[in-house]
Subunit: 253 residues, 2 copies
């Protein structure tokens, strides 16, 4: 048995999420089906994050265990060939130690959220960002975000379906800035990192920060919502299409 | 009659190009149809560039003449409402002088070309960039590109269907660099500007520079191809999905 660490990039649009569902298309099912086509083995894929329907990944870390003797480079090419035309790509594949686990060994996760702040509908970024017509105060959003950094009970920012044992998480950073890349002049980028996140935590934080940016919420209300530890005080859950799982971190990497 | 200057952003994927075709969907036809729905007038749209099928625009400059009394802000909103769900957006709309012409007044055009340089297939950037598996020598591409800057006869880099009177054009700049934005780590960006371009010129230049990057062409061969003034010496025409019309420039702007 060889454990292969896979790095996955995918467009979340056509999937009901990363995790396998009973009937709906998922990233996990797609990769497991591709692995079966390549190896004849029914593998189970484990991943660092469990992204929702519509959420994208730039470099999700996953692993599968395979009996068949195959070089990582060949496995990657074969999986990509079988995954076509689905918008899932294996961008890296390497042999991992048997005790390395994409989910349980992960010590850090980073997400990116893209907002296009303009009145006109999206075209080249459609399905890849959240369009907000009202002009956002990016500096106020960034200031307000700092109240969420550190060790907190994030019950307010947690989905009712969250399976985490504790709502207490330590947020390493949460930065809001205007993007400087050429594609999409009105783009705002929110970057965040933590050891782990609660279900819907990033989208819930982004939704409330957007309310601050629109001046519908005061900056102080972020702290009030956090301290309330009550999902009812949540203002808004940002839509999934703006969210990207960026990277997973492990010891020694 | 009021002349409205429109700024258009569009995903070129679903269209046979910017310019109206007899039967096929075009950006021009779509905007003219939207304008008819808003004003009841059969307008003709003129644009700074004539992008091909599949080529995108971030800020194409166009104009239409309208008899109906309407505020630019309202016209923009109404056109965007009628354009849905097509991936075309009017991102700016303002009143222009009657003698201002989106095509004939234009004194500068800029294009961007995106390459994703990796073996894995594209997912979130599919239809938005050219995927090249072989590792490209970006520095060699940039050096070779400098031979094309300045006043030259670009016959080699001109489509057989080009309607320009002369193949002599002055290229202001042609820069090849690695992109630094977060979306797409392996991204290479080619930026170019000129008063005007020949049909297929940008894609033809990019195609040959890619051959240099793959080391299938020497850097000197770019100069040889240019000096040959012969379309037969062209190495490769880059695919349309990586090309973006970025901006048009006018006197006093």
């Amino acid at each position: 048995m060889t454990r292969f660490a896979l790095t996955l990039e995918f467009d979340g649009g056509p999937f009901m999420g990363l995790q396998r569902q009973a009937l709906d298309p998922s990233v996990q099912q797609s990769v497991e089906d591709a692995a079966f086509a390549v190896t004849g083995e029914k593998v189970t894929m484990h991943s660092a994050g469990r992204t929702d329907a519509g959420v994208h990944a730039l470099a999700m870390s996953s692993h599968i265990d395979v009996e068949k003797q195959i070089e990582p480079f060949r496995l990657m090419g074969a999986l990509n060939a079988k995954l076509r035309p689905k918008p899932i790509a294996v961008t890296d594949c390497r042999i991992a130690p048997d005790d390395w686990h994409a989910r349980f060994s992960c010590i850090g996760r980073r997400y990116l959220y893209r907002i296009i702040n303009r009145r006109a509908p999206l075209t080249v970024t459609r399905g890849r960002a959240w369009q907000i017509a009202r002009t956002l105060d990016v500096e106020a959003m960034h200031r307000a975000a700092q109240a969420l950094v550190g060790l907190h009970d994030f019950t307010t920012f947690r989905s009712a379906h969250c399976q985490a044992q504790s709502p207490v998480k330590s947020l390493d950073f949460l930065n809001v800035r205007r993007a400087e890349n050429a594609i999409g002049a009105e783009e705002i980028v929110i970057e965040t990192g933590a050891r782990s996140f609660l279900h819907h935590q990033v989208r819930s934080m982004v939704g409330c920060l957007a309310l601050v940016g629109m001046e519908r919420w005061s900056e102080a209300r972020i702290t009030e919502a956090l301290e309330a530890r009550d999902r009812q005080t949540l203002g808004l859950n940002a839509p999934p299409e703006g969210l990207y799982f960026v990277q997973a971190f492990y010891p020694d990497t």
